[in-house]
Chain length 328, copies 2
């Protein structure tokens, strides 16, 4: 099965759980604000990872649906709050929640999705999922939530800061993006009843593809065609965003090139974009970024070796590749 079909197949059950969880939210404007971004779509990679890892360790998929939905709600909550903090007016091709309902309601919408996520995890009480596993999964998910907050705080602290080291940058994207993806694969393995070794391997698998996912984001910004990317090429450069290309170039470039790159990043002038890309290329930073993403994906796939062969294992393999195949 094509990986996009796999995602679609798994998302139906997840959507049902999310709908059930949201159904009782009251008053109506809070309900509408909470549902907005979920209705707007998204690929639902994270919940699929919970379900696939639960299956891949031989567990029953039914027991994992609530945690899968919870992980998607946590992702959605973080997008809603991030959009407020970053003053982003669009998300998934639609106005962001705070743009439509105002900041107070958007804060609340995020908060209630967050609450509902934990309610879902706590409700994972089917026959073959003992309470001790539920608590372990809960610990896994909550740990990722803490990291998401820390990652966002780090990311905000990087603004106008041009001495961010590579490890500091990688730690930020680990917390902001990879930690929740690792929590998805780890909690799936826990709920599915995986061995300690399997849980650890799948946790690492999630972390590696999560890092690849974010690094590929950096990479796509400069190597894509605008039609495929869905936004102008070089947006990150115009916005002066820290990316792995920037971090790498700043760490190896000559003082002159470094100064010029910082000037461009501060300028917000899109006519400078090609010059920034030239500087990246001069220091091999674009290839470097692609290589790191590829290396992460390969290491992630190797970790799957200790699983028995199954369609779920195959899908996890394909999902790792998908991190680099996606065009937007």
């Amino acid at each position: 099965m094509e990986i996009l079909d796999v995602l679609k197949k798994y998302s139906a059950g997840v959507d049902r759980e999310i709908e059930k969880a949201l159904d009782t939210v009251d008053p109506e404007n809070l309900y509408n604000a909470s549902k907005h971004l979920i209705k707007a779509g998204g690929k639902k990679i994270r919940p699929a990872l919970v379900l696939l890892t639960a299956e891949a360790v031989g567990g029953n998929i039914e027991g994992a649906y609530k945690t899968a939905a919870a992980v998607e709600l946590i992702h959605t909550f973080s997008l809603i709050h991030d959009d407020i903090m970053d003053e982003d007016e669009m998300r998934r091709g639609k106005p962001s929640v705070h743009t439509m309902w105002g900041e107070p309601m958007a804060i609340l919408a995020g908060d209630i999705l967050f609450s509902l996520a934990f309610e879902l995890v706590a409700q994972t009480q089917v026959d073959d999922v003992p309470a001790s596993r539920v608590i372990k999964a809960l610990n896994t998910v909550v740990d990722a939530c803490i990291k998401i907050c820390e990652g966002q705080a780090c990311d905000m602290s990087f603004e106008e800061k041009f001495d961010v080291g590579e490890s500091e940058y990688l730690n930020m994207i680990y917390k902001k993006t990879a930690a929740l993806i690792a929590a998805a694969t780890k909690s799936g393995a826990i709920i599915g009843g995986g061995t300690a070794e399997q849980v650890e391997a799948l946790s690492q698998y999630g972390e590696l593809i999560g890092m690849a996912f974010q690094i590929q984001d950096d990479y796509l910004d400069v190597v894509s065609e605008e039609e495929e990317l869905g936004k102008p090429v070089g947006s990150d450069i115009v916005e002066g965003k820290m990316t792995l290309m920037v971090v790498h170039t700043l760490s190896v470039a000559s003082p002159e090139d470094k100064e010029e790159l910082i000037f461009i990043l501060k300028s917000g002038d899109e006519s400078n974009t090609q010059r920034a890309i030239d500087i990246f290329n001069k220091y091999g930073s674009i290839d470097y970024t692609r290589d790191i993403a590829l290396d992460n994906v390969n290491r992630a796939k190797d970790l799957l070796d200790l699983l028995d062969d199954s369609p779920a294992k195959e899908a996890l393999y394909d999902l790792a590749d998908f991190m680099l195949q996606r065009k937007n």
Copy 2:
């Protein structure tokens, strides 16, 4: 022991748990923003209720400290986010978190306290607290979080709305305030290993004193001396806030008095305060409010009858009375 001494005695262990939970928060500005409101103090009634109810059903207090700390963190998270939404610049006599660190960091500070709260509940894994109890306590706490969000959304929807019915108003303060206090007493009883009957009674006890707490707030605004209240008497009237006095008066007053009260509430003019109080008194709304608070407290105390006598039971009795004794 005096009830304030009881609160002080119990808060030491809670403070230690909170400090441990917050200790690893990174980066530093997020750590400072998260700690700010906790350092500013507060009476710590909610965590004391978790500990006292756990003791009152014969449980070991040690197993309840983490949930007690979690409930206090949830309370703090909701204050931080409410202050952003309501644009309140002061809290506990200090600048609010968003006033000091800006809105983005205040949103994050709330989010991470919320996350840490669930981490604390999930970590309740001492010998005499089985995992099934932890999950029940988690469900209780998370249910209150959902209600807090809904209550705040209701409260915001009441602004400039003068046809709020009494049951609608009481439902709002139940969700916004009483639900978390009920979750404190219920989760304490669960973790302490109380019978189903004890858990239910203590949950109701919490709800009743929570309602009394909020209704007393309404009452104090018009019957206090400014020095005792710590803010000008009649602030709620000047701010045009919905209170039980307003709701009651609007439901029984003549069309003329109703119109005048609405005019005063919209005016924001403090020279009208005494006139509003006169209208409240004309319809017995101030006595009505005090009577409802008193009735809640008495019903709460009656519910304690099914507990064996103990210092914890006595303290719960005194805490119910304390809801109406407090001057601010």
